[in-house]
């Protein structure tokens, strides 16, 4: 019996290996302008090579 369904997600621990290129959006600019959150931002790295 399957008790747990796991969604495909980016593995944050693995992202430490290839992350940090800095090409991504820097703040709430271009959007809501009044609250910062990064969950809805996109990774703009061209070299994402991690496991999921």
């Amino acid at each position: 019996m399957e008790h747990i369904k796991t969604l495909e997600t980016r593995n944050l621990c693995d992202s430490a290996k290839n992350g940090g290129c800095g090409e991504c959006q820097t703040s709430c600019q271009s959007a809501c302008k009044t609250s910062c959150g990064i969950a809805n931002q996109q990774c703009e790295s061209t070299e994402k090579k991690e496991s999921k």
Binding site: M1, H3, I4, K5, T6, C24, S30, N40
Partner: protein, 461 residues
């Protein structure tokens, strides 16, 4: 760190540090809740006792479920420890001195007189002014000169009402386009407007040159017109809605946000979102008001449960419309679980004051648009660069681990420490915590992830 919650018929388990998202049944939910608190024998006895006499749940099921939880832990998808703190300042250190985005305050004046405006009707507590082409051109050169190897540069035309200085906006875009190839850059422009001055020329320009357009509409006419009035006190809804419709229709799928503000006058903001949908808009953002403490529009503690419930109902509406084949986007529920930010980004905090700055019509630099007019936060100017290093260091030091309150918050890797301006305006410190905003943020994340789960299971992602 693990966060568990029940919403929309789903039992959700988030493993914060790996970023894993699990939808689980009741037994797994209960096992995960006590997994780290007792040994296997005690846990199995406790769960067996809890489920004794319930149809369909056998001791074998419970043990099997335990093993599935253990396997996830062994595979780094549950109970992952937080080992990220030493990396917290790395991204800002690596990109120190690199500026990626500017907010150009193209007009410190406005043709609306909205009492709730954080920018005090566009004047930012100062004099009315518009940015000259020379100042704007220098700001673009300053950005290019300070952008290092960063290719994508973001420039927002903001105000006040930027279309009150539209000729300069057009000239600046033409200038940027004339240098971007030679400089190896790609400018992305955003225009934020109240809509009054939108005409065919603006529509052509915005749809050709702006990667995003932010259109201010608060939803229902009576809500919108309560605050968004001109200087004669006349509401603007009737005049702007047809213009917004025309612009969006002509935009042909390019990014835009219909951006509303909700206040103490409409904590039931879902009605306003529905109004936007009824008008045919599908890319929506609805923001809690940012205003001084004590302002009549300020959201109160009594509003909080209403707002939290509205967020849940909004998530339900999104799922319902997904299933009807009529999806829409809500800015704060956009979450890309497979393509979102890396861990460096998630812990490094907002880039205000370091990678992102606001430029006044006079060419002064501030950490972001929400600090303009607060003299002590002035960082420098576009000719001489940043000279107020002390203030800039305060912003550089803002990250998830800089705020003690964030350390044990499950949402820290989704919010990255929050908004420095909100923190400052509510606590007096950029490293403070705007707890009211945190409560809203956490609810939004719970809803966003629940919607993502539903989309994954129903093939709508």
């Amino acid at each position: 760190m693990v966060h568990q919650y029940k919403l929309g018929g789903y039992n959700v388990v988030l493993d914060i540090c790996s970023g894993s998202v699990h939808a689980v049944d009741e037994v797994a939910y209960d096992i995960i809740e006590i997994f780290e608190k007792m040994d296997k024998a005690e846990l199995l006895a406790e769960i067996s006792k809890r489920y004794s006499g319930r149809d369909g749940i056998t001791e074998k099921d419970i043990e099997e479920c335990y093993e599935q939880v253990q396997a996830l832990k062994d595979n780094g998808k549950l109970f992952t420890p937080d080992t990220f703190e030493p990396m917290a300042g790395k991204l800002k250190e690596k990109t120190s001195g690199v500026i990626k985005a500017l907010c150009l305050h193209i007009a410190h004046t406005c043709n609306l007189n909205c009492s709730y405006c954080f920018a005090s009707q566009g004047k930012y507590h100062g004099d009315r002014a518009v940015m000259s082409y020379e100042v704007g051109k220098r700001a673009l050169d300053f950005l290019v000169e300070n952008s290092g190897s960063r290719r994508n540069l973001e420039v927002d035309f903001f105000g006040g009402e930027p279309l009150m200085n539209f000729d300069v906006v057009k000239q600046l875009v033409a200038y940027a386009r004339s240098i971007e190839k030679e400089k190896g850059k790609n400018f992305r422009f955003t225009l934020t407007t109240n809509g009054l001055l939108i005409d065919d020329d603006v529509i052509d320009f915005a749809n050709r040159e702006c990667s995003n357009v932010v259109l201010s509409l608060d939803g229902r006419k009576e809500i919108h017109d309560r605050f968004r009035v001109d200087y004669s006190g006349k509401g603007s809804w009737e005049r702007i809605v047809p213009k917004f419709k025309k612009l969006v229709e002509a935009r042909g799928g390019k990014n835009y946000y219909m951006r509303g503000t909700f206040t103490h006058a409409n904590p039931d903001f879902l009605k306003d979102i529905k109004q936007m949908l009824d008008l045919g808009f599908t890319e929506l953002s609805m923001e809690p008001v940012v205003c001084a403490a004590g302002d009549p529009s300020e959201l109160t503690e009594a509003d909080l449960p209403i707002v939290l419930e509205q967020y849940e109902k909004l998530a339900e509406l999104m799922i319902k419309r997904d299933r009807e084949g009529r999806p829409f986007t809500f800015y704060h529920y956009m979450i890309d679980l497979t393509g979102g930010p890396c861990i460096y980004k998630r812990i490094s905090g907002c880039g205000s004051g370091t990678e992102y700055m606001a430029v006044t019509p006079w060419g002064d630099l501030y950490p972001c648009h929400q600090f303009v007019g607060e003299e002590k936060f002035k960082l420098g100017n576009v000719w001489d660069g940043v000279d107020n290093k002390e203030t800039q260091c305060e912003f550089a030091a803002c990250n998830v681990y800089a705020r003690p309150e964030c350390r044990n918050c499950w949402a820290k890797l989704y919010c990255s420490g929050g908004c420095a301006a909100n923190a400052y305006h509510s606590t007096g410190s950029v490293t403070g915590v705007y707890e009211y905003g945190c409560k809203l943020f956490r609810k939004r994340m719970e809803c966003a992830i629940m919607v993502a789960i539903d989309r994954a299971f129903n093939g709508k992602s």
